[in-house]
């Protein structure tokens, strides 16, 4: 299963619909400080079902919806979609949150539960805890992880 595309709209600083094509090998994201690069990482964690606000650098659920400024009104919903391709089939996974607190997961256009998305991902090698996403400043924390958490990482993969 290969990730083909990330689509973001209304999530954090991505007020406008934004599409990022993903290479089969190495995709590089560059840009000035504060431009929104790590927000893309938060978007990926969020659509994969991240429940902890701390992991996506937010304090409340609504912090992920574009909060607006003098020139732009706040967004009403945050929407992130990942497009995968697996042996020719296209699989889209999405998550949406509106300001009134309505939150839902979407698999190939159908509203589903997080459990269903997790199942699709598990079958293709994606564990519940995406150890394959390393946030800014976290690379040396892995090395200081406790022996138990290292075992759990390996157990996930087994």
């Amino acid at each position: 299963m290969k990730l083909k595309e990330i689509f973001i709209k209304g999530f954090k600083s991505f007020a406008d619909p934004t599409r990022l094509e993903i290479s089969d090998k190495v995709t590089v994201v560059v840009g000035p400080n504060g431009s929104g690069k790590s927000n893309v990482v938060d978007a990926i964690r969020w659509v994969l079902g991240e429940q902890s606000m701390k992991e996506i650098r937010a304090q409340e659920r609504e912090d992920v919806v574009f909060w607006g400024n003098e020139k732009r009104p706040p967004a009403q919903t945050a929407y992130v979609e990942l497009v995968f391709e697996d042996a020719g089939n296209r699989i889209t996974i999405a998550r949406e949150l509106s300001r009134d607190g309505n939150s839902r997961y979407i698999l190939n256009g159908d509203v589903v539960r997080l459990k269903d998305i997790r199942e699709v991902l598990m079958q293709r090698g994606f564990g519940k805890n995406p150890y394959s996403i390393i946030g800014q400043g976290q690379i040396d924390k892995i090395v200081s992880a406790s022996p138990e958490s290292l075992r759990m990482m390996i157990e996930e993969i087994a």
Partner: protein
């Protein structure tokens, strides 16, 4: 479950040893299961020694050395589970030029998908696709750039 665990552990450990040797000039590394009965209950410890030195407490490694051990760990998990894509947000920040170069070569050799955020021009060269992010009036914009444009 136990055989499965041991099989995966051995595979990751073999890979970890190889990556530490590639990344640490003359260093060696391995993972050890801290024996206390059932393997599924025990912890795992990382053991590293730099060229010719005795075994080193991980806390005493430098900032850059810890990042290299972290990269070796992630890459070795990849061997056992190549289906996932990897997202690395400025993991190269503590690296000097020599080790940035090594990291770049690793990215180019592996077959898995990587999404890499960096300010380091050496690492940018590893990208097949490069996205430039800017912020205009508080809104992020993304433009796909050609490598030649970035490096000037």
């Amino acid at each position: 479950a136990r055989e499965q665990f041991m099989k995966t552990f051995n595979k990751i450990n073999e890979a970890f040893k190889r990556y530490v040797e590639t990344l640490f000039y003359g260093g060696t590394g391995s993972m050890r299961i801290i024996e206390d009965g059932d393997v599924l209950e025990s912890g795992i410890e990382i053991v590293i020694s730099k060229a010719g030195k005795r075994v080193q407490k991980l806390q005493l490694l430098s900032g850059g050395e810890k990042a290299l051990v972290g990269i070796a760990l992630i890459m070795s998990m990849l061997e056992a589970n190549s289906g996932v894509f990897y997202v690395l947000d400025e993991v190269d920040a503590p690296l000097d030029d020599y080790n940035s170069e090594k990291f770049r070569r690793l990215l180019e050799q592996e077959n898995s998908q990587f999404i890499v955020i960096t300010h380091n021009k050496l690492i940018m060269e590893a990208g097949d696709i490069v996205h430039g992010v800017t912020m205009v009036d508080g809104v992020s914009k993304v433009v796909q750039v050609k490598m030649e444009e970035v490096l000037t």
